[in-house]
Amino acid sequence: MQAYILRRVAQGILAIFVICTVTFALARVSGDPLNVLLPEEASEEQIALIKAEWGLDKPIHMQYLQYLGKLFRGDLGEAIAWPNSTATELIVQRLPNTVKLSALALIVSGVIAFPVGVLVAIKKDTPFDYVGKLFAILGQSAPTFAVGLILMWIFAVQLNFFPTSGSGGVEYIILPALALGYYNVAALMRLTRSSMLEVLDTEYVKLARIKGVPEWKVVWKHCFRNALIVPLTYFGLIGAVLITGSVVIETVFAWPGLGHLVIKAILFRDYVVVQAVVLLFATAFVIINIMVDVLYAYIDPRIRYT
């Protein structure tokens, strides 16, 4: 198990390294950062000066090595489009917001999806089940921004329950978290339902009933943990869904998090910030995946990684 985790971590570091390189390369193709740094009428001397200051006068592979070296010391670089702040500062400012939002979305999806998935499986072929199915298939067909806007329109504009956008108290985070969690709820619910149906049909569930275990215990002890195994494989993807979703949802609700930041950075051609945020997202993604694998082995004792 330990060897397995070590190997996964090594693989993860490799993946992050590849992603670093790719974003570095892409960021450099994405247009000359000088256009952002300098006014149009800048003189030759000014250009040279700025180039030297940002290290842009060196050949690209030197710039790359320099970037890696700084990265290794934990220095993500000076933001270009945000004067007087480093990428690290910008990220530290916004990271808590994104973490709050994603964590809440994750909790919302887990708390709704698993019990409802189990419930619709038990109540198979009843109106309950049909509503659940409809909900699940809608969830896969609606883009996150549409869900966000429709929620905003119904609950903020029409019913006036929540503010439309921005940040502040608890009331600001509820709609974005729901919108961000919606896709996961739909997907997880569908998976939980189908794997629950499979488990309900097994011999060990029959044996549990034969030995006189109460039905609620049959469902929540014997079935639930087995039924979790399949949806858990999906949990690795949830990291990706949340990251993707947070970029969109933070834009929709003007939520001051990393997604909001990276969209702005891309528009401003601030490659330093883009690289930093993408690197952070990639790292988070890799860590989530390793955690899922470990959790997986815990839930299903048949899996022993070697």
């Binding site: 993946a15 193709v29 994405s30 549409a146 969109v248």
Partner: protein, 361 residues
């Protein structure tokens, strides 16, 4: 049927076969997912093909005087306010400032309900004026802030969605299919290199990759197609590789090799035809995904550039007006959801028919 049975040259067996075929055809029609198909035809295919003929208005240039008109079933509404010297900021729904009130009456936008017998507007009078314009069949789904017809824009948006998704799937799917087949057929190093790239690609959140790519190449129609193709190919490559590996094991491939067929010929004439079902099913399952991706990119301002009526762009236009003119964002949203929903249902049906083992892909 009666005509068939009485026809003298038709033998009983043939009649039966023909009847069987008709019954089969009837059953096939009945099993078709009709509702999704109808929605797709009327929402996506017909508007996309005949947008120029069908759209009642120009999709790019609006009439500013007709800006923000609601859909036809919303009728105009009036409200009355009391004229005061200076309106209190918190009471704008019941009060109106004197200057503002006089201007409105002069322009004929408001009528004096009570007071004002002297012909001028004075503080204390009550004004009645139009709060919201009503909709009409001229613009069935209303207009946006530039006075452009939303229905016409949705029709042209359908064309964009259809073009982007078909081209992107053709490009990405084609690339993925070729790489997957290559990986399976060549095996060894080729296989492991291609599959490692697939793994890394699949391990990267797609929207971020797309955004970085768009930032690198610059937004535009071609960029969107290329970016989506880049996002798509990996899944194709993985599925096609698995499929091609099992086909490769079969005898007829060896037979073809023994009879001296070239590698390219074996791949194109022997392996590919056996993959067609998988590729087609995967393509239909991906259309919805691609429409979502395209509209998301366009919504974020990193897809189809603004004046073009892509659905995502329209939603982005309506986002700021969500409190006052809901129809601007809602209709394109619904168009996206309905199209993707129908496409997914159709894809599921096709998968169950043609290639049920893809169920877990």
């Amino acid at each position: 049927m009666a005509a068939v049975t009485t026809s003298p040259e038709v033998t009983g067996v043939e009649t039966q076969q023909r009847a069987g075929r008709i019954a089969k055809g009837y059953r096939a029609v009945r099993e078709l997912p009709l509702i999704p198909l109808i929605i797709l035809i009327f929402l996506l295919v017909i508007p996309a093909m005949f947008a120029n003929q069908l759209a009642p208005h120009n999709q790019r240039i609006g009439v500013l005087d007709d800006a923000k008109l609601p859909p036809f079933w919303v009728s105009e509404s009036f409200e009355s306010r009391t004229v005061v010297q200076r309106a209190d900021k918190d009471k704008l729904d019941v009060e109106i400032g004197l200057t503002n009130a006089r201007r409105k009456v002069d322009r004929g936008e408001a009528t004096i309900l009570s007071g004002g017998e002297d012909g001028t507007v004075d503080p204390g009078d009550t004004l009645r004026f139009q709060a919201n314009k009503g909709g009409s069949m001229e613009y069935p789904l209303g207009t946006d802030k530039q006075g452009r017809d939303i229905l016409s824009r949705i029709m042209h948006g359908a064309r964009i969605s259809l073009m982007v998704s078909s081209l992107a799937i053709l490009l990405g799917g084609g690339l993925g299919t070729i790489l997957g087949m290559l990986a399976a057929y060549r095996g060894g190093k080729t296989d492991s290199i291609i599959m490692r790239i697939v793994d890394i690609k699949l391990a990267f959140p797609s929207i971020l990759l797309a955004l970085v790519l768009v930032a690198a190449i610059g937004a535009g129609f071609t960029t969107v197609i290329v970016v989506i193709a880049v996002l798509l190919w990996a899944r194709y490559a993985r599925v096609v590789r698995g499929e091609a590996l099992s086909i490769k094991q079969q005898d007829f491939i060896d037979r073809a090799r023994v009879s001296g067929a070239s590698n390219v010929r074996i791949m194109m004439r022997h392996i590919f035809p056996n993959l067609v079902n998988t590729v087609v099913v995967l393509a239909t399952l991906e259309v919805g995904h691609v429409i979502i991706l395209e509209s998301t990119l366009s919504f974020l301002g990193a897809g189809i550039p603004a004046p073009t009526p892509a659905w995502g762009v329209m939603v982005a236009d309506g986002r700021d007006l969500i409190t006052t003119a809901w129809w601007i964002f809602l209709f394109p949203c619904l168009a996206i959801v309905l199209t993707v929903l129908s496409m997914n249902l159709l894809g599921d049906w096709l998968r169950d028919k043609l290639d049920p083992k893809l169920r877990n892909v």
